[in-house]
C-alpha cells in the first residue's frame, strides 16, 4: 500500500479539436487529508476527476488512485473509491433508502448488509425522516447529502466530491462541510474535493491545488500559499478633494502597488506588515492627503489565485460576474 491516495504524472486529456482540458498535471495527494482542487469553471477540474474515477481515459500520462493504476486496474480502483459527481445523479422516483440499498447490491454486498448499511448512512447524513420519501421531494441540500451517503456505501478509501456544494444555500453548505470533515476525521477517508469557492477550500482543505487552463498554477497548504503572497494588503479610499492618484503616490513608497483596488482608492502590499500601516497613515497625513476608509487585510486564497493567474476567482468579494 502506498501512502498516496492519488498520484498523477504528466496527466493529459485532449478533446476533439486539440483542446487540452488537462495539460500535463502531476499531482500527489497524501492519504488521510482533505484535498481541495480549486479552479474556475472550465479550468479542467471535472475532467481531472473523471479521469481519476475511471470515467474518462487519459490521453497520456499516468494516474494511480488508492494504490492502483486507473488505466490498468480500473476495476480495483472502482471498488476502492467513492464518487459523488456534479449535479447529483439521483432518481426522483425512488426513495433514499431504496437507492442506498440498490447501491449496496451493485457493490456486491449481502442483502442484510445493504439494509444495515443504508440505515447507518441515513442516520449519519440526517435523512432518517426522509428515508422513505421519493427523492423528487427532497431539497437541494438533502439530495447532496444522499449523494454523499450513496458514495459511502462500500466504505471507500478515497472519496471524490465534484463541486459538492455548488448551488446550495449557505446553511446546507455548512452542514455538508461538517459531514465531510467528520468523515475525514472519524473514518480516515481521504477526500478529493473540487470547488470553485475559495471559502470552501479555505474552510475544508488541508491542502489546495489551483488549476487554471488545465495546468496546476499553485499547490500547497492554504497557509503556505497565502504566505507565498506574503504581505498583508493595505487599501485606502481617498476623500474630500484628494484623488486615488494622490493616495497611490504616497503608498507606493511602502511596497508594491496592487491593481484592482476599490473605486476611488489604491492598494499596496506592505512588506512591513501591520507596523508599517502606522507609518503609511502618518505619511498620508504629512502629505495632506485625506482619506475616508482604510483597511488592512491578510492575504486570501483569492490573492493567491490572482497572483497565479492574473484574475479573480468566482466567490471572492472582488470578483465580478
Amino acid at each position: 500500500m502506498s501512502d498516496q491516495a492519488v498520484e498523477t504524472r504528466d496527466l493529459v486529456r485532449e478533446y476533439k479539436g486539440g483542446v487540452k482540458a488537462v495539460d500535463g498535471v502531476s499531482l500527489t495527494v497524501e492519504s488521510g487529508g482533505i484535498f481541495g482542487f480549486l479552479g474556475p469553471n472550465g479550468a479542467g477540474k471535472s475532467t481531472m476527476v473523471r479521469m481519476l474515477t475511471t470515467l474518462l481515459r487519459p490521453t497520456s500520462g499516468t494516474a494511480i488512485v488508492a494504490g492502483h493504476d486507473v488505466m490498468k486496474e480500473p476495476g480495483i480502483v472502482r471498488r476502492r473509491i467513492g464518487v459523488a459527481l456534479q449535479d447529483a445523479a439521483i432518481d426522483p422516483y425512488m426513495t433514499g433508502r431504496e437507492l442506498l440499498r440498490l447501491q449496496g447490491v451493485l457493490h456486491g454486498m449481502k442483502r442484510a448488509d445493504c439494509r444495515a448499511r443504508a440505515d447507518v448512512l441515513l442516520g449519519r447524513v440526517d435523512l432518517e425522516d426522509a428515508a422513505d420519501r421519493r427523492v423528487g421531494t427532497y431539497s437541494g441540500g438533502m439530495r447532496r447529502r444522499l449523494d454523499l451517503a450513496l458514495s459511502l456505501v462500500h466504505e471507500p478509501v478515497v472519496l471524490f466530491l465534484d463541486e459538492p456544494t455548488t448551488g446550495l444555500d449557505p446553511v446546507s453548505r455548512v452542514t455538508l462541510w461538517d459531514e465531510v470533515r467528520r468523515l475525514n476525521v472519524e473514518h480516515g477517508t481521504t477526500v478529493f474535493l473540487t470547488t470553485q469557492y475559495l471559502e470552501e477550500a479555505d474552510q475544508l482543505a488541508d491542502r489546495v491545488a489551483i488549476i487554471d487552463g488545465g495546468l496546476i498554477v499553485a499547490d500547497g497548504t492554504p497557509k503556505a500559499l497565502k504566505a507565498r503572497i506574503g504581505y498583508p494588503l493595505l487599501s485606502v479610499v481617498a476623500a474630500d478633494g484628494s484623488t486615488p492618484d494622490d493616495v497611490a503616490r504616497v503608498l507606493s513608497g511602502f511596497g508594491e502597488m496592487v491593481p484592482g483596488a476599490r473605486d476611488g482608492g489604491a492598494a499596496v502590499r506592505l512588506p512591513g506588515g501591520s507596523t508599517a500601516m502606522a507609518d503609511a497613515v502618518r505619511a498620508l497625513d504629512d502629505a495632506g492627503v485625506r482619506f475616508a476608509e482604510i483597511d488592512l487585510a491578510e492575504p486570501t486564497l483569492d490573492d493567491v489565485f490572482l497572483a497565479s493567474t492574473g484574475r479573480h476567482l468566482a466567490g471572492s468579494d472582488d470578483a465580478t460576474a
Partner: protein, 263 residues
C-alpha cells in the same frame, strides 16, 4: 467464486429499479397501455363487420381476435421507446456515470434495462390477451398458443429495448430517443398490425409485405385466430429473435464504444 452471481444480482437489482421507476411514473406506462387498448376498441367497433364481408379478410370469429396481436406489438413498441428514453435520461442525469464509476458489471447495465423491458412486455401481452378475453376474444391455440404469443412478445420486447438502448447510447438524449417514436409508429402502420395484408393495395401492400413486423404480427395472430402451424410459430419466433440479436448486439457495441471514447 463464480463471476456470474454478482452479474445476476446486479441485473435483477437494476431491472427492479427500472420497473419501479416506470411504474411510479404514469407518463412512462400509461401510453403503452392506453393507446393499444383504445385503438383495439376503436378498430373492433369500426370494423367489426369486416370479417366475412371484405374480400381478403382472413376467416376469423371476431375482429377483436384479429386485433389482439397488433395491440401487443404496439404496446411493446411504445414501452420500449419509453425505456430507451429513460436510459438516455440516466446518461444525461448522471446515474449512468455512477454505475460506470462503481464495480457494477458492464453487462448488467444492459441486461438490467433489457430485463425490465422484457418483464413489462410480457405483462403487457398477458394483460391485453386478458382484456380481450373479457370482451369475448378466444385464443385458438390454447395455452400453447398463449405461450408462443408471449415468447414472441418477449423477444420483440428485447429487440425494441435493444434499439432504445442503442439510440440512447448514441444520442445521449432522452428527447432524441422519444423523437424517434413517430418513425416507429409509421413502421407499425406500414405493416399488417391493424389490417390484413390481403386487403392492402399498391405500393402500400408491397411495403407492408417487406416489413418484418408484418410477419411477427401474423405469427402471433394465427395462434389466436387459428391456422397456426409449427412453421408459422417458428417464423415469428425466428424473426423476433433475429431482430433482438441485431439490436442487442448493436447496443452492446454502442456501450463499448461509449465507454471507450468516454465523453
Amino acid at each position: 467464486m463464480t463471476a456470474a452471481i454478482p452479474v445476476i444480482r446486479q441485473t435483477a437489482a437494476l431491472a427492479w429499479r427500472s420497473i419501479v421507476t416506470t411504474i411510479r411514473l404514469p407518463q412512462a406506462w400509461f401510453p403503452a397501455l392506453f393507446f393499444p387498448l383504445v385503438l383495439m376498441a376503436i378498430f373492433t367497433a369500426s370494423f367489426g363487420g369486416a370479417p366475412g364481408t371484405i374480400p381478403g379478410f382472413p376467416p376469423v370469429r371476431s375482429f377483436l381476435d384479429f386485433a389482439v396481436s397488433g395491440a401487443i406489438i404496439q404496446g411493446v413498441l411504445i414501452g420500449g421507446t419509453s425505456a430507451g428514453a429513460a436510459f438516455a435520461t440516466d446518461i444525461e442525469g448522471g446515474f449512468f456515470d455512477r454505475l460506470v464509476a462503481s464495480p457494477t458489471s458492464r453487462t448488467s447495465i444492459l441486461t438490467g434495462r433489457l430485463g425490465a423491458s422484457i418483464a413489462l412486455g410480457v405483462g403487457q401481452a398477458l394483460l391485453f390477451i386478458s382484456v380481450a378475453a373479457i370482451f369475448g376474444a378466444r385464443v385458438d391455440g390454447g395455452v400453447l398458443g398463449i405461450f408462443i404469443v408471449v415468447v414472441i412478445a418477449t423477444l420483440f420486447a428485447a429487440a425494441v429495448g435493444g434499439l432504445g438502448i442503442f439510440l440512447a447510447l448514441r444520442t445521449g438524449s432522452g428527447e432524441a430517443v422519444q423523437g424517434m417514436f413517430p418513425l416507429f409508429f409509421a413502421l407499425l402502420f406500414f405493416s399488417s398490425a391493424f389490417f390484413p395484408l390481403d386487403t392492402m393495395v399498391g405500393w402500400y401492400h408491397d411495403v407492408a409485405a417487406l416489413n418484418p413486423i408484418t410477419y411477427l404480427v401474423e405469427s402471433m395472430r394465427l395462434e389466436i385466430i387459428g391456422g397456426a402451424t409449427i412453421w408459422t410459430a417458428l417464423t415469428g419466433i425466428g424473426i423476433a429473435l433475429g431482430l433482438a440479436v441485431i439490436t442487442v448486439g448493436a447496443s452492446a457495441l454502442a456501450l463499448r464504444r461509449r465507454l471507450r471514447v468516454a465523453a
